[in-house]
Subunit: 153 residues, 2 copies
Amino acid sequence: MIRMSKETDYGIILLAHFAGDQERLTHSARALAAETYLPLPMVSKILKILAREGFLVSHRGVKGGYSLARRPERVPIAEIITAMEGPVAMTECVEAPGECRHEPVCQLRSKWQKINEVVLLALGSITLSDLIGPLPDQLAPFGGKPENLVRLQ
Amino acid sequence: MIRMSKETDYGIILLAHFAGDQERLTHSARALAAETYLPLPMVSKILKILAREGFLVSHRGVKGGYSLARRPERVPIAEIITAMEGPVAMTECVEAPGECRHEPVCQLRSKWQKINEVVLLALGSITLSDLIGPLPDQLAPFGGKPENLVRLQ
DNA sequence: TGAAATGGTACTGGATCAGTCCTATATCAG
DNA sequence: CTGATATAGGACTGATCCAGTACCATTTCA
């Protein structure tokens, strides 16, 4: 189904929560779990990953917690996805060239790489700050002109 | 990793093979397996699905086999992916609205739907005919201008 | 009538995933 | 100094999903 893992899903929800409430200096795992209605152990686990990957800064101790490491406009969601579940790669040959035993006969690898770039561009152009705020219909892909999306030479 | 299943991967390889050799009227599962170096039982299984989903026309009997139901230019790969593994939906709430118990508090659903549209547009603009032929570097996304990809209003 | 093809479905071993739990370490308050 | 509260980093588990196989029925043609 071309779907992200729950971990990534929750991770983006959490980061969006950070972006949407930048008044507080730090958010603890417990508070975040309560505010997002996500299970605490999962929230805790995911925050550790996000800190290790450089999206959050952690502060230990009684008054500790996490805070955003960068301004939301500087965090493309493609980067979050890549950090949480490895490179975005629709096929095995895109992520690990040479491992697919059909590669010598299969002529599709270069094509998949291009397709992958398109998907990555799409995800790379959306940042955390695009995910907050009450406005729906915020993103207008290509000015609604799908024929401009990919140009064949 | 945002990856398609092997079934879908193989399915597209097989369809591309059909598109690349339209001289023969029908291709049998056995011949296709030999030519693509894919395991016969899998090829057989996948061809059945592709026929059921309307991409191939099947012909039973001794001289039977499969043939393309449409011209390759008319088969967007997004459609193949959707047919083989369900709707392209990065999150659960996009595919099945109402099932996620966080939906009432989560403000991200409309955003994910837009993001999903962008990905679908990218995949929808590439057809089977783009996958054949010896030319690499065939696709040029957005004329190489990523900033034109998504416009925020 | 038999060979060769598709149609449909059931089954299985393995991998992956969501989620939990435990222990160590750091920080602050009293 | 000590206890409470936080993160850090693992190990662990039950459930689900996936790739691949196997089996039998049906159709077609020589």
